[in-house]
Symmetry: D2
Subunit: 476 residues, 4 copies
């Protein structure tokens, strides 16, 4: 059952998740601008399977249900699946210009799938079976799952048990017969307010004394004790206004602080509970996927920024002069994309049958992401001119006194309208300095660059490389 966009939005409306913003509960998130735009963005992932041009690309037959499911809820079963996910990520960003937050859910699904398989095999637990059942429902009902990884963390120099407040990492505060009670918060959770379910993974680096922190589970967004506090983004208030000053007039992203105030989780939704040795492994799998797939997102956003920049160059009569810079933008977008495709193409099957990209190359992908989008941003700023950071508002364009002035003086080449020029400027503002800032997306998505460098360090076989060098230098 592949939901339509309308069905998805209606189903979320009915759930009425516990969403707050600006200190207040949002009554109907389908009516509030900021959340509505995020719903619309996610909605595109529900539209595509019904579009004959993309159906084959964005759906896959599931071994669990035997039905076609959305790739966002699919367990990767080949290197081709991984490549396709990069392509779907790019397509989604080409269509929406935003992070919809569907990727982390997919990351979690595959990370939990494989890690529960390992745990069950080694520890004789039955988490994997539970998760299969959970995933069956997700696929059958075509649910939007947010993925939650990052804890509040407090003092980053101290581990969980050394924090002055033990709740800085999500943990189990009570084990009951029918389930567990969890407390803590997950920060910056993409799409949380618009999801049916939140999949929660533990962080990493827990010791035997921190078993309570090694907890993975699924929770519906309207659970008791759960609060989803939507974060501010740059220029976010514009999203609640009609008109084009918001830049991206159709879609938005949304991140939230997700607070667990003693939330009860029944056992059939618990996928790790105390197996601290597996927490790091689960995280590794999550980020492995994310460091690859995010490159698709940024390549897609790069495409939009390239398109918008070139439109503006046209409107300014500067198409030829800016061509070299547009080619640079393409280089960066495609370099991110190619590396991710390379990582996917060298992927391997893990014991559970789920596929993951090459560890080294996926981390190299992340190391592209943390700087290339800044280059794209800089190029866009250079092409666009100063107007992106300061331009009269749409209200000025509509104003009785100011309107004719703005209409007259913000006009570009004869065949462009002032309004269109202003719309494209706002879109670029959105993606370089606003709610859709691509450089924000790229820096810490999938973890910090330092985290990716650490993986390179772990994989760095200096001994082997030294041996080759010695051989050529004629040493023994």
């Amino acid at each position: 059952m592949l939901k339509t966009r309308e069905e998805y939005i209606e189903s979320i409306r009915k759930m009425n998740p516990n969403v707050y913003m600006f200190g207040e509960r949002i009554r109907d998130i389908t009516k509030f601008g900021i959340t509505r735009l995020a719903l619309e963005g996610i909605g595109v992932s529900y539209d595509l399977p019904h579009d004959p041009r993309y159906r084959e690309m964005v759906t896959k037959r599931s071994d669990l249900t035997g039905e076609e499911v959305n790739v966002y809820t699919h367990i990767n079963s080949s290197s081709e699946d991984l490549k396709r996910r990069v392509k779907v990520a790019r397509l989604m960003c080409q269509r929406t210009g935003v992070c919809t937050g569907r990727c982390p859910g997919w990351d979690c699904i595959n990370a939990i799938w494989d890690t529960t398989y390992e745990m069950d095999k080694k520890l004789k637990t039955n988490y994997h079976q539970r998760f299969r059942e959970f995933m069956k429902r997700v696929q059958q009902e075509d649910l939007m799952c947010a993925g939650a990884l990052t804890d509040a963390k407090g003092n980053r120099a101290l581990r969980a048990v050394r924090q002055s407040d033990p709740d800085m990492y999500v943990h189990v505060v009570e084990k009951k017969r029918d389930g567990i009670v969890v407390r803590g918060a997950k920060a910056m959770i993409e799409g949380a307010a618009c999801a049916h379910e939140i999949l929660v993974q533990p962080g990493t680096g827990f010791s035997v004394h921190e078993k309570d922190y090694a907890v993975a589970f699924a929770v519906p967004t309207n659970a008791k004790g759960l609060s989803i506090i939507v974060n501010r983004q740059s220029s976010d208030e514009r999203k609640n206004d009609p008109g084009f000053d918001k830049g991206n007039t159709k879609y938005g992203s949304l991140e939230a602080l997700v607070v667990f105030d003693d939330v009860f989780i029944p056992w059939d939704r618990v996928f790790m509970c105390g197996e601290y040795e597996y927490a790091a492994e689960m995280v590794t799998k999550f980020v492995l996927l994310h460091r690859m797939v995010l490159a698709g997102c940024l390549a897609g956003c790069g495409d939009i920024v390239t398109g918008a920049s070139s439109l503006l160059a046209d409107y300014h009569g500067l198409s030829r002069q800016m061509l070299d810079k547009l080619i640079d933008m393409v280089y960066y977008s495609e370099a991110m994309y190619a590396t991710a495709i390379g990582a996917a193409s060298e992927g391997t099957a893990y014991p559970s049958g789920a596929w993951f990209p090459d560890t080294l190359l996926a981390n190299v992908s992340k190391l592209n992401l943390f700087w290339m989008p800044y280059e794209i941003t800089k190029l866009a700023d250079e092409i666009a001119g100063g107007i992106v950071s300061c331009m009269p508002s749409e209200k000025d364009l509509r104003g009785r006194v100011t309107g004719p002035y703005v209409e007259k003086y913000l006009k570009g080449t004869y065949d462009s309208t002032t309004e269109n020029r202003m719309r494209i400027v706002r879109l670029l503002e959105n993606m370089t300095a606003g709610a859709g800032r691509i450089s924000a997306l790229c820096m810490h998505g999938g973890g910090s660059p330092a985290a990716a460098r650490l993986v390179l360090r772990q994989l760095l076989d200096l001994h082997l490389k030294q041996r080759w060098a010695k051989d050529l230098a004629g040493i023994e």
Copy 2:
């Protein structure tokens, strides 16, 4: 007479300039958040001369009035003056974190001073004498002058007379016995809404058929027919709210579209009118100063971003890990600064007695500016973590339900308060992605990088360099 900040703000309030925003006239710009913050920023330049620690640095005895005047209204009379201006620019940004818009006025003052001197000498006009009188009043009354250079431009591929709308560049539409009437618009004028006077310079590249476009003059901000339409900046609405979500809680910058709807300018305020051969020269002098002095601003803003980033690293318990990145930030700030000091130190006196920096090095300074602030931004993003692009609002911190959660979970190390951490995050957001985005300031301030490259091309003595190379290669 050196005004105090209060006197400056009161004098602007009394003038009641014709300022619009969001399509409406602003009644009292001292009460409207966005303009108030800009007034406060400029106000710092009125505070400093009264501060014994800075008095010597920010004032200079004027040959015109025999009195001490603010350096912002002073004609540079030595290489030391140029260096001092770079230092004052840095100081102002260290204090305010924003572009106050005082520099372009100073650029104009010096550019008009020297060019009118040249014109009078060659053409037997009396513009220079007029400008001396004008400047006497500016210095005596300690006026804030905005500098206006950039025209609306329309189709950038066509010159002024070929535009479908002849008003795309400011021009004289009528010459009267007692003055001229001008029409057109100047775009992105820093500080225009908070100035006493706007100094208007023509653009460049005008031919004998475009004499009407070669026009320079001064106009008070409450002149009839003049409209100052304040531009939007990223996240600007927050400035009208109380509280800290605006990031920079004390100061703001402000740019405007300045529209001349048949504004009458009496002759004693006209400093060029038809001498098209001198328009380019006047622009060259303006940008020469700006490409140097702007480096001081960005070094000062870099200092703030460095300070804020290091505070956040402290709050996160990551001071040591982030030290290398902080050093990189310092490198970029100081490299911009050192280059500008070098350009100033190699400055020379022009015939009028005004000093200008070395042409080549001032343009090299500009070419630092267009990329180094992006590196600083990227480093700040990396140090700060994802929180800079998504964090609950101050209202969430104050909310009944959300407040305790935000207070608890956004806490960093034990000795930092949640509110302080949030304040610093907002400041960084402001300077990397908000109204104070340093990368916006740097890209097109003083003209595009392409314009600076063009100067390098003009100054490029390939023949000489080729001769040296031939000599070493043993070619005759």
Copy 3:
């Protein structure tokens, strides 16, 4: 029949190619240091198929002969083949640290294969059949083919027929009953002096008036009228000395100016003769392969430089301090590699059945290559210290007076010997500033960066990207 290294070298010795260096004919290229090192490098490609660890990787069953052939003479028949070639290129450079010159031959083989197929289909020629016969012999006798593309070119601003000397591009000067006579020169031909055959492709951009320049053929390296003038490389004289000052003590690369002084080519070795419309296409296929596969070479060389740098850090007692820089080196090597793998993995079959990488991504690969190896070089210089550019010679180490001093004072940590330290320094010198300079390899291999940018420009679908941007901005 897969030749051994010894058989390969002996077969070349017997051919006695027409090789010159320093103005004189080299009697026996197996005895002359510079050519001997190049033969040894190529020899590794003959060793590997006999090494059980690599046999599967470096051989492939040929459809032409039904036998296993070296991948360097194989027609790519799948995306996996392309990926494998990138891996073999990396392996070869990990083993040899040099460009052996085998890749251009493989590029030519595949480019001529596919283009002759197209020509025969459209023009009813029989070039493809001729080339099949030629390739059968190449595979059966396991021949080393050099690939020759770059003409002398003279004035690059003028096309072939406008050159003051018509021979600046290789062309047909006479057509005979049994073959053609060609004149001109091909420049910087990798491995030419050590090949059995040189495959010659025409350049690009020929018009109907330049049919004589559209000529492709194969010629043995001992043909009458053919002169192979070996080029100098940095520090090349050391290669003729015994000892370790040459840096890479085992292998070398070699490029040559190949002069055709009215060389006769029988018809069965002619694969294009006048079909000027196909010249550009043949070039495009050549460079497509080269821009992909060269990334493998540079990743492999990057591995050696990383290994050598880390050894030197160990010898200096600075392993820990240099770790971050080593990780940066790995990032660059792997980023080049991943992009090429991405390009290969997205490859497609052309009508002849030969496979080629994705055009856009292969050119993106090239754009990595022109700068990343410079970063690796810079990092190596930083790690190694000043000693790489100035160190006493091996003769100083052996000298009666100087020997004890050098032995004593060039010693590093207690567990390294002075000689080993000196050997590694020389290897790094070789790869950063000497005959094996990786930055030389990367800049113009597969054409200039400008040529790759041109392809991006041709593939740049701005219209599509603009459409996406318009949609998000809400423009009709």
Copy 4:
């Protein structure tokens, strides 16, 4: 008495310094190609004072002698002096294209001057008086002083006294009535073989247990027990050949390992002996000057590379296409220069009256140097094409068979000769990959980038920057 070049060279010939290369004593360094080219390079510094165009620039009246002396032996007495030294450094490299090794002597002179002054004042020693006397003779006889700082060092992780061989740092092995005996070696000493005197400074970081390592002195280059072992450079053998393959046909640089095998130093030449607390200070002053002045050298070399690259572009008919890259080269050269001028211009007088550049900015200058020359190199490689790394030799151009081919096929545009094109290619090869490699000069000259970063770290007033940030964020 300002020596002429001829007098300088003759005076060195007469001294007959103890110079070795390739394991053997060089009989007459004025006849041996490698040393001769170095003497010629230094000779330019003796020519300039006799050239009326430069006399004023390169000489200064000395307070010691009352005569005009070469700036290379002058104590800086103003900020203008520092700026002038940067300009002279640039001039020398524009004329010679090499590091002549005069700067380190000047660094030592000023560092020892000021530090001995401090020592005498605090410790009541009489080193400064001794040094004054020494300097009088240096100025009167116009001597070339090499400056020697870098020790052999062995295991960099261990301090001097922990080395397995105590001689890894130069130290006093015996104190006699009439002087001291020193042992050890100084590495990579620029110009040592061509100097009259070597000024030796201690390294840094010595404790009370390492007093014997805190030793500064002057020694003539023909002292008993002193051996100067000339280091190899890339392609150095070409320097001993006639003809143009050496690239720079006129000048060369030269570094040496300087070994002290129990060399006796009379007391009047000893300027520190045991005052370990002052060793670091002396080093700091040395590197401060060097990190500033080296920028002049690299700007000058950048000028040559720019000239040579543009000549080659002309010869190839590609002048217009390469213009943008030439502008980039100019940007880098001038950015290095401007920063150094900035550092000089902000210099201050130290107690002895000697002037030193601003500490922070001089170290920022160094941080430009370690990467900008690599960018220049990359641009040169891109402009020049592959020919720089592989071109037939001059002997091929002169060869009976090969000569006509090379003459014909290496010709560029009609108005360039083949020989001239080849000469410029060789010059570029020399400066990008040969003995004159600018990137080698820049990386470790004046210490490693890491050392300069350490200074930034020490000067980093985070507290102050944090205070400014807090103020803007509204924190107390």
